[in-house]
Point group: C2
DNA sequence: TTTATTGCAAATTATTTGCACATCA
DNA sequence: TGATGTGCAAATAATTTGCAATAAA
């Protein structure tokens, strides 16, 4: 998805492509993958320090409405954003020890989702929250060697 | 688990059973199931209005350390607490439209957890975050009839 | 008595909002 | 030009913390 295309989509809704919006998109592309809100703010500052944090939040919401970016909730540490990758949004898992986020296959929960919808009518959206657990490194080395990306539960 | 037992466990660690701690436990028992932090504060106020909100937060942490209560992260709306029910912590699913939380079978993700640990060594903790999606009512009636428990995404 | 715990108030942190000004099409 | 969008600063909201006073054991 090019900046061009986003501009067109914005115009189609009577909205505009602006400096701050370009900066946020550039920051997301540069960073790649899922980016915490705070990291987006930081990354945008690298691209263009004149962009205000409030504009970053507003832009993320605008681009979400537009379908250009998607968000995902992490149990600990808030919300992460990533550029929409079509129907390819994979499942995420966050380590409760180090805070790191791993990608899991997009179809991981398909069977479960089927069971759940049959059983209770609840339609799962598997990519919208990260699963929780302990990553291999933290499970293996205990709490000693892993890098702490986040602090504490909760 | 009786108040008695919790008191004993606390003493075993050089800690004490106090009025505020009794109030929090009573509130959790009265309310039943998973209770949002804000709801715990409210419920405790009903039990004993003299208990300060800060003490509720501190007590929830203390009781978590003790293993008497457990918490669970909701994608939208923060943290919920519930009394530990042995190994029986079921899986939760939160509707992104109305915010309601449903209980799903505890073993729902067992197969997935096995796959994941084999594949990447990540050990899932299925009850620690609520899955996300749309409940039957909200999926059926669209956005018109459901009670909004929470406000907005993200 | 002694020391863990509490209430209070202030500090933090993260996000949102009102508004006058800037800017995109 | 004329609406949309932005920077700023203040408002919210939720949780945490320092500290003197209180209360368990």
């Amino acid at each position: 998805m090019l900046l061009q295309d986003v501009a067109v989509r914005l115009r189609a809704r009577g909205e505009r492509m602006t400096g701050p919006r370009r900066a946020v998109l550039t920051a997301l592309v540069r960073h790649g993958g899922h980016v915490l809100a705070a990291e987006v703010v930081e990354a945008v500052a690298d691209v263009d320090p004149s962009v205000h944090r409030a504009s970053v939040y507003r832009t993320l919401e605008t681009l979400s409405d537009l379908g250009v970016v998607q968000h995902l909730h992490l149990g600990h540490g808030g919300t992460a954003y990533h550029l929409s990758d079509g129907d390819h949004h994979h499942v995420h898992a966050q380590c409760q020890v180090c805070g790191g986020v791993e990608d899991l296959p997009a179809d991981l929960l398909d069977t479960v989702a089927e069971q759940v919808v049959l059983r209770s009518g609840f339609v799962l959206d598997p990519g919208h929250v990260a699963l929780s657990g302990t990553c291999r490194a933290c499970a293996t080395h205990g709490s000693s060697s892993a890098t702490r990306h986040h602090t504490r539960e909760p």
